[in-house]
């Protein structure tokens, strides 16, 4: 098509799409011309000057008055020393805006309420002094949603590992007992291996972040006519590809924010603190999206030394809400049915149960033998999420394979075996497995063989010596990879002596304490 043809075709389109003008539109022009002229420019200038004066007067426009070296560190120290903190704020994510309210105390109490509009959708409550293996109280509305999450698993992040990531096998949903749901660090940790709850600082130290974040801190003092003198700290972090994720709680009190920041993401935390005390007075966190800083988290209020009333510590259940307690871990982790180890890992099987339908429920733990780092490259050489994968090979005495219940219809090929950002030395996992083959339906298994397939502790390039995944090298790389990558531990064959009466033992372990 030549230019003349394009012109012709485009003109035809424009003509066909040309709209009609309404009647008497000329009269509207005449009326506007005849209307008394307003001195727009002067008026707008007056408005602009007035607005600027008002903004400065109200304290919205700060005037820089000097440097404030160490403001960020002082703010972190002050927060860590506070006997209690009460904050309210908002978070923004792909599904919109959520409100939250949080309380922390030095004795280890922590509560987190999440609202969708006016409705509370989640509440986590950690009480000190209990050897809890999960949140003491977890409430949700509606209860169906929680059951769905149990069945579907909450850690699946299909986008984190590309299709090319050479990981195949059924996925185990690991639910760390520190919070009953995921393996991310929270301000207050309950570690069964340590007995009593261990309080972690509200804030990760910058030094701990440096392995994974490139951090730049800018500090200055500013003055607003209304708000007085304040210190401002702007923290810019760039998450290195392949790095762990936990660092991304940097600068906020809210755990789940980490999930929104992937490798290579940029984060900017804007913090205002009192010049005298170092107390944080404002906090906003931004993520760079398409070259623009997008607000993802902000505190609306922060109160240090807040009194934690009885109502805060033992809240009444909202109407239609259900009180849940996850007792699964407490009852199973103290037992060990079998244990084994490979080059890099120790794995233990804590429970093996079968429900009345023949589904198998396993509780496992896995501990690395050495300090390790993970990364992986996809076929085109891109870095993907740090991976701590585990696959299960579970068969009964007839050779039937057992797969995760919600994916039992899928044969194999479940990429996405990754665990993101685990900081605990040990993972605990529990999973429901359903017989993959329907050929022998209605027959309960009599013995179950469990094998655990682990990734090595080393990164793929370290392990294989292949650092560049060119197309030509890919097949040979894959061959070496298949042969060396996995470390399989056979835990043994276990007779099924007892069949549990329920359908979903994991959900029942939580729901049965419903009050």
């Amino acid at each position: 098509m030549k230019h003349e043809c394009v012109d012709e075709q485009f003109t035809e389109l424009l003509t066909a799409a040309r709209p009609e003008l309404s009647a008497r539109w000329q009269d509207r022009v005449l009326a506007k011309v005849a209307a008394p002229a307003t001195h727009r420019t002067r008026r707008w200038m007056a408005i602009a000057v007035g607005a600027a004066v008002a903004l400065i007067g109200l304290g919205f426009v700060p005037i820089p008055t000097g440097s404030a070296k160490g403001a960020f560190s002082r703010a972190l120290a002050m927060t860590n020393q506070a006997p209690g903190v009460h904050v309210t704020g908002r978070i923004w994510g792909p599904v919109g805006e959520w409100r939250f309210e949080q309380w922390f105390t030095k004795d280890g109490f922590s509560r987190y309420d999440l609202y969708d509009g006016e409705q509370i959708v989640w509440r986590w409550l950690y009480a000190p002094g209990e050897r809890a293996m999960g949140p003491r109280v977890k409430e949700t509305e509606p209860i169906r949603r929680f059951r769905e999450m149990l069945e579907e698993g909450t850690l699946a992040d299909p986008g984190a590992v590309s299709e090319d990531a050479p990981l195949i096998g059924p996925r185990v949903d690991m639910w760390a007992p520190n919070d009953g749901e995921d393996v991310f660090p929270k301000p207050v940790m309950h570690r069964p291996d340590l007995g009593e709850p261990v309080r972690q600082d509200f804030w990760q130290r910058l030094e701990e972040q440096k392995a994974t974040l490139e951090v730049r801190v800018e500090e200055r003092q500013s003055l607003t006519l209304w708000g007085g003198r304040r210190n401002v700290a702007d923290v810019y972090g760039h998450r290195r590809p392949g790095a762990h994720v936990e660092v991304l709680i940097l600068g906020n009190l809210h755990g789940p924010l980490y999930a929104w920041l992937g490798p290579g993401d940029d984060v900017w935390i804007h913090m205002e603190t009192e010049a005298q005390t170092g107390a944080i007075r404002a906090l906003e966190q931004y993520k760079r999206v398409n070259g623009r800083w997008e607000l993802v988290y902000c505190l609306d209020s922060i109160e240090f030394g807040a009194e934690m009333s009885e109502e805060v510590r033992n809240p009444e259940l909202p109407e239609h809400h259900v009180r849940l307690e996850d007792t699964w871990w407490r009852e199973r982790l103290p037992r060990t049915l079998a244990a084994g180890e490979s080059q890099d890992w120790r794995v233990a099987l804590h429970s093996l149960e079968v429900n009345r339908k023949g589904d198998v429920f396993l509780t496992l733990s896995r501990t690395p033998k050495t300090e390790v780092t993970w990364d992986a490259r996809t076929r085109d050489g891109r870095l993907v999420e740090p991976i701590r994968s585990i696959s299960l090979g579970v068969r009964d005495e007839l050779g039937n394979q057992y797969l995760p219940s919600h994916r039992a219809s899928m044969p194999q090929g479940l990429a996405g075996l990754n665990w993101m950002g685990a900081t605990l030395p040990t993972f605990w996992g529990r999973i429901r497995l359903t017989r993959g083959s329907p050929a022998v339906a209605n027959r309960l298994p009599r013995a179950i063989t469990v094998r655990v397939r682990n990734e090595p502790a080393k990164s793929i390039p370290e392990l294989t010596g292949v650092r560049s995944l060119d197309q030509d090298d890919f097949e040979s790389f894959m061959e070496r990879f298949r042969n060396t990558y996995y470390q399989t531990i056979t835990l043994g064959t276990f007779p099924v002596s007892e069949v549990q009466p329920g359908d979903d033992l994991i959900a029942d372990a939580i729901l049965r304490t419903e009050r």
Partner: protein, 200 residues
């Protein structure tokens, strides 16, 4: 002989010169003539830029003509033709409108046609066909608009609906004549590729 106070500029027609003088004298006839001569094409340009949103395009055009009539003393025939100056005003107003539009979410305007507008020109069995062909044309214009930058699209539209010269288009969009040639070339290339893909 030129009237007192008139600026004689080479290339400005006597007719346009007379119109400008009439507008300076705040003559309603001059305003009406301004509307008749330029209104429909300004509206056409605005509608194309606004993906077929005829009503907003009309508002923009009415505002632009009223502004032009009120501020005719700002028109400098040495810097641009009256036509290019008017397109420049419409363009600035369109930019404001497009900025506002980014925050709105609704059915794409290219997929909307005011019903009364179609019923004015067609009825009965022709109505559906008129509606369909209009929607299809709007869709294709929108497809081209998506493939081009805003400036490229404006330059291409201006070159087609009013046969403005590159120099005049440059005056309207604040670019050199050479830049307009380059923009037009690029716009045609992209439009061609897009239209061919769309046809395929």
């Amino acid at each position: 002989m030129a009237e007192p106070g008139a600026i004689q500029v080479q290339g400005v027609s006597a007719e346009e010169h007379r119109l400008v003088l009439g507008l300076r004298a705040a003559s309603p006839e001059a305003v009406r003539e301004l509307c008749d001569r330029f209104g429909p094409k300004l509206h056409w340009f605005a509608a194309a830029r606004l993906s077929g949103d005829a009503q907003t395009a009309e508002e923009v055009m009415v505002e632009a003509l009223a502004d032009a009539a009120r501020n005719i003393r700002r028109f400098d025939p040495r810097r641009s033709t009256l036509s290019a100056w008017l397109y420049g005003i419409v363009r600035r107003k369109l930019q404001g409108e497009l900025r506002k539009r980014r925050w709105r979410k609704s059915v794409p305007l290219s997929a909307q046609v005011p019903f009364d507008e179609v019923t004015n020109t067609a009825s009965g069995p022709d109505l559906a066909e008129a509606l369909t062909s209009r929607l299809e044309a709007q869709r294709q214009v929108a497809v081209v608009a998506q493939a081009l930058s805003g400036l490229e699209f404006e330059v291409l539209v201006l070159s087609r609906i009013d046969q403005l010269s590159a120099r005049e288009i440059g005056q309207a969009v604040g670019r050199s004549e050479r830049a307009i040639h380059s923009l037009l070339h690029r716009a045609r290339q992209k439009a061609r590729e897009r239209l061919m893909t769309d046809e395929a």
